[in-house]
Amino acid sequence: MRKALMAAVAACALIAAGGTGQAQEKLRIGVMATLSGALTSGGEDGVRGAQIALKQRGGKIAGREVEFIIAATDASPDSALRAARKLVEQDKVQLILGPLSGSEGIAMRDYSKTVPNVTVVDASSGALETTYVNPSPNYFRFNSNGAMWMAGLGDYVFKDKGYKKLAVIGEDYSFPYTQVFGFALGYCKAGGQIVQRQWVPLGTKDFGSVIANIPDDVDAVFLALGGGDSVNFLNQYGQTGGKAKFVGGSIMVDQTVLSSRGNAKRLLVGTPSSGGVADAWDDPKWKAWVKAYQDAFPADKRFASPSLFATNYYNAFNGMATGLEKVNADLSDGGAKLRAELAKVELDAPNGPIKLDDDRQAIATTFITEVVETPNGELTNKFVRTVPNVSKTMGLSAEAFKAVGLPSRTNPECKP
């Protein structure tokens, strides 16, 4: 018995030694995702997206095996910094995929300047400032920002839906500011009015007072909430018996909310929205991606179709991998060659073509959608139309866009 055990141990040791001797060192990629707090469900789906992308490449980039080191954040900038420092200082990664949330992105932009040998590929964060104000040379973003995801929605809501007056409820951080900013640019130009804006802390439990504060004389309420907050809001709104119509921010009507448990989400049926994906789009590439997503995980471990986060992480990983393949996954020069290649990457993504501008910010497609109920009771985003090639200046000239100012609680004003 003892001998057999010894032999087994020896064999294991041999295999292990042989393994490290033969293969190249693994390529370690730090993946940041919000795995606690209000945006948990989004973070989990993001990780799924990256895992699928890696599996499609056989677990390898340029012949080197890839290892994900997942670092959890909670959507706050300081949690993102903690996670990034841990990845860089402790795990010694040179590649970071993430973060997920808006204010995390701004913090990571500044952090990335202090570690020039690390290449950060943003995975889903959507603040405008991240790639617009003092962009960092080693920070890349293959997804649109929150404003770009709103391109064309204002016009659609005003003209097609006929909502002339809106109230806004959003979480109090950069991404919802950016979404309202992007929406207001189009909506106010079309003639719409935003009469009230309420900002609540991320992770708000009790929306009672906020709901009571919604004015009676608005045509609809623009909701820039996400994840758990959206579900909480809808639940409590249903409890008060409210009947307002909604306009959704990109992650308000995303699968993270539409697949949630309970009945509150049904209030969203008929809600127009826009973002980086449309669940029920007919495009063959999109359908292939939905199928890959559905095949990769059992039905109770995923959403009905990939959320915005899964798609963004999928694209971000593919962008990073494309760049790495060009340089044969060689990072010995601190990633300088990789960054030169990354800037040139053009992705033929499931949600439309993506290329990067001079500030390493994606120019991509925005989808206008509307929530509908499928015959089997699931909620999905019906495809309305696309707005192709949205850039970060939203079709304005650089000067005109600069004159609008940066997203904030009050900008742009949107008074008649």
Binding site: S36, S41, E44, G203, D206, G208, R261
Partner: protein, 337 residues
Amino acid sequence: MSDFIGRRPIWSLVILIAVALLAFLIFAVWTPWMELTFGRKRVFLSALFNGITLGGLYFLVASGFTLIFGLMRNVNLAHGSLYLFGGYVGYSIGNLTGSWFAALIGAFVIVALAGMLMQVLLFRWMEGQDLRQTLVTIGLSIIVADLLLWGYGGDTFQVTTPDWLSGPIQLPFVVALRSNGEAVMMMYPLVRIAILIGAIILGVAMWLVLNRTRIGMLVRAGVDDRDMLSATGVRVQLVFIMVFAFGAGLAGLAGVVGGTFQSLQPGEDTKILLSSLVVVIVGGMGSIPGAAMGALIVGLAEQFGSVYMPTYAVMLTFVIMVVVLAIRPQGLAAVRR
């Protein structure tokens, strides 16, 4: 009552005026001038009611906390974990049986058992060692939080409200007048009213048990002087286990209640622990009326804060705590000894 007026005539007058003013604000039809200064009446009323119902939830959690502290001098920093655990257990039971009451009772019983185990297996062996107890409970809360994250994941859960409790109810308060003179009544979620009534009934029952029964007498005697009580031949350990189980059970029950009108997710444990710490510090450690008072103040502060000064709402509760600590460090309702 008349005694209080005799002793504190000025304070009585202030309280009377405040109550009258509040009653006026609630029942009167607001003039345009008032709407201009205080915002719309519906917002004010809703903040008031939300604050009171939130206070009801905080009371459920904090009363167990304060009882355990008062009797055993044990600052149970795992109390928030008991809350979250109860919520998840209630969610699972509710899903299995489809009954909200089964969820409530099941959570109460199971978490009470967990509390019993905590007392028997852990705290008995470190009686009177404050620092050790504190560290052990913190450790326990971290372990429980991770176990719950492992079991239930990071998602947001909601205990399903029974049909007869969902939807709004009309309250007899006029919030506004339509242009044709018709009064608009206040609509308010029924489930919140039910929770508030439940909390009040429970609070009164607890007060009665503590002040009118033999068991309550034992507990009160234990709060005052533990050693003397055990010297008179009472099996103090049994009383401890009972109180710990009840306090833990209340936290579990509150978890289901909180999961019904708010939601459950990781991190909720520390949040509720923090709130109940503030409640207990404001109200006075070990006092049930204090817990009720503290819960009401913290609930109202949170809600009014979020409406009238959203940016500083988070700070407001702590400002209150600091003020109470500065002026009356033993807490508002604590008995001076």
